[in-house]
């Protein structure tokens, strides 16, 4: 689980003791590499955890800076699952950052959508679906965003050849809406 740098067990996680104690059963590991704190978590209760962090009194993580996926297929390190979804949150009042990382299995790459916790998540989740094929359950409009609508496959997966082009055959008509 712990891949890099100095990792600490959940019991003495430094940065967010409230979070670590509230979700002790959900947190699998804590990583600290070059000052970046990452909590490796189980994907099941992601919405609760994100909501908890957003409303944390001491330092509310009120900005969702980034949400994206990873594919560990070609990694030299043994990973629990092939895919991971990474949430990058920022607390404006206390200038703190935290990353949550949830591994999702290749057989069922699925995690709950957080589009109603942060409005920003909508497009970022669509992008992760488009490029990695991660399904965000409960997302209102999970469609491709960067690739065209005839695209087959998910281009940022490690088994998608980097030189494979897919041409859009029909033009998108401007019938609107």
């Amino acid at each position: 689980m712990q891949e890099t740098g100095t990792s600490s067990s959940v019991s003495n996680s430094g940065m967010l003791p409230e979070f670590a104690s509230a979700f002790a059963s959900e947190i699998l590991a804590t990583e600290d590499f070059r000052g970046d704190v990452t909590y490796v978590i189980k994907p099941q209760r992601i919405r609760e955890m994100i909501r908890f962090l957003k409303t944390l009194e001491r330092c509310p993580f009120n900005v969702m800076m980034d949400l994206f996926a990873m594919d560990y297929l070609k990694s030299n390190t043994e990973m629990p699952e092939r895919f991971a979804v990474i949430y990058n949150l920022y607390s404006l009042p206390s200038n703190a950052r935290v990353r949550l990382k949830a591994y999702v299995p290749e057989a069922k790459p699925e995690i709950e959508s957080i589009h109603d916790v942060y409005k920003a998540a909508n497009w970022f989740e669509r992008e992760a679906w488009d490029l990695f094929g991660i399904t965000f359950t409960g997302h209102p409009h999970l469609q491709r965003i960067l690739c065209h609508n005839e695209f087959v496959g998910h281009p940022l997966r490690k088994d998608y050849p980097s030189d494979q082009y897919q041409r859009l055959k029909t033009s998108i008509r401007s019938t609107g809406m």
């Binding site: 891949e3 070059r34 497009w123 669509r126 401007s174 609107g176």
Partner: protein, 406 residues
């Protein structure tokens, strides 16, 4: 064809009825008012926008996939094409992330030159934004005034790295080249002219009745919404939140300079204009101080497994030759790990998340583009206003498709 459209402005993602009473119109992807390849489907009631769908991806060129197939330094030219109005800031943002991964600090001289490059880039980026925004609204003069200064700054860039637009001026651990002779004096002359132009445009726009009518209160967004959408940069500061990464988590000695974070209230087009105008003056302040005492010394780190050794060493010593060969053939080998590094780019927080497997190329390069978050909030600002107001709003957001679509 309804399913082919990829986004609408409604939170529930619902598709409007086919027999809608509104008129439907397609804008873009190539349209003078979008300044890039943005496509917007709108529903109009008279002149008022009642619904809109944004479609992006027309400039998608797989930056992140390309990053995985190229060596660490070869990714730099791809970063030029993110926000091409201020390519140097993307160069700096990317190499800063790789340097964080390596755990190294670049030399004081290199840091200072990067600050100068970044602030010059911020100025020209804001010049383009305000210039183009004013053209959309009908004030062509400002555009010409601003582009004269932009050309002068581009001349400086050309002398620095040989390119004007796609600069690729940085390298991991340093820079492509040190400053050429006489560059500092030249740069001082160039930045001395800019305040006059800013004053001219200030005089033409800031208290101009037409400009105020077209921008004040147009395309507003509240603090709360802006944060929820992940706004950063001038668009966030225009809502009154004084957040700037150069102050919040200073890098490259930004905390040594005397300057202020510019904010404005209202979150409308006019406040975004005021913030950008103010920021250019603050950038000039930073530049004046930064150009004054540039530290002496090398621009590249001394570690030959990161920076190429000097040519004399390559040709006269076996160590230099070997280091050169190994670096060119095998590349930099950062340790295994994942890091996120963010810089304050012209549009907001430009972040890079990088995973290294300890090999000569990145395992994953993730770019967090500020535009992506900002453009998502565009329907929130533009709906229930006129089409011409939407044009004025879009211009003030400075959406750069290269960064939006990557």
């Amino acid at each position: 064809m309804l399913e082919q459209v990829t986004e609408n402005g409604r939170p529930d993602g619902a598709v409007p009825e086919a027999d809608s009473k509104y008129m439907r119109l397609n804008v873009g992807p190539s349209h003078p008012a979008t300044h890039g390849t943005l496509r917007i489907f709108v529903e109009l009631e008279g002149e008022i926008l009642r619904d809109m769908k944004l479609e992006i991806g027309y400039l998608h060129r797989c930056f992140e996939k390309m990053g995985e197939t190229h060596a660490w330094n070869q990714v730099i030219p791809f970063t030029d094409r993110l926000n091409y109005c201020s390519a140097m800031m993307n160069n700096v943002g990317y190499v800063m992330a790789v340097e964080k991964l390596l755990g190294i600090e670049v030399t004081p001289r290199c840091q200072r030159i990067r600050v100068i490059m970044c602030e010059l880039s911020r100025i020209i980026d804001h010049l383009v934004c305000i210039g183009a925004n004013s053209v959309d609204i009908g004030a062509l003069t400002c555009f010409w005034y601003f582009f004269r200064e932009r050309e002068n700054v581009y001349d400086l860039f050309e002398a620095l790295c040989g390119a004007r637009l796609t600069t690729s001026a940085t390298r991991v651990g340093g820079l492509y080249k040190d400053l050429p002779d006489g560059w500092v004096e030249w740069a001082k002359k160039v930045i001395k002219q800019i305040p006059r132009t800013l004053d001219d445009v200030d005089g033409l726009l800031t208290n101009n009745r037409i400009w105020i009518d077209r921008t004040k209160g147009v395309g507003p967004i509240s603090k709360e919404l802006a944060l929820d959408y992940g706004f950063t940069g001038p668009c966030l500061r225009a809502t009154g939140i004084a957040h700037d990464l150069r102050k919040a988590s200073p890098y490259y000695g930004y905390d040594q300079f005397k300057w202020n974070v510019v904010t404005s209230e209202g979150g409308c087009t006019y406040s975004r204009y005021l913030v950008r105008m103010g920021e250019m003056r603050e950038s000039l302040k930073i530049l004046e101080q930064a150009l004054e005492d540039i530290p002496e010394g090398p621009v590249n780190v001394a570690d030959w497994s990161i920076s190429l050794p000097p040519k004399e060493q390559v040709y006269t010593t076996i160590e230099g030759l070997m280091a050169h060969f190994k670096l060119v053939m095998h590349g930099i080998k950062p340790p295994v790990g994942e890091i996120y590094s963010a810089t304050e780019a012209a549009n907001g927080e430009l972040g890079f998340f990088i995973r290294s497997e300890g090999e000569g190329r990145p395992y994953r390069v993730r770019c967090r583009p500020p535009c992506f978050a900002i453009y998502q909030g565009f329907p929130e600002m533009a709906l229930n206003q006129t089409v011409s107001d939407a044009v004025s709003t879009l211009g003030s957001l400075n959406i750069v498709a290269g960064e939006l679509d990557r």
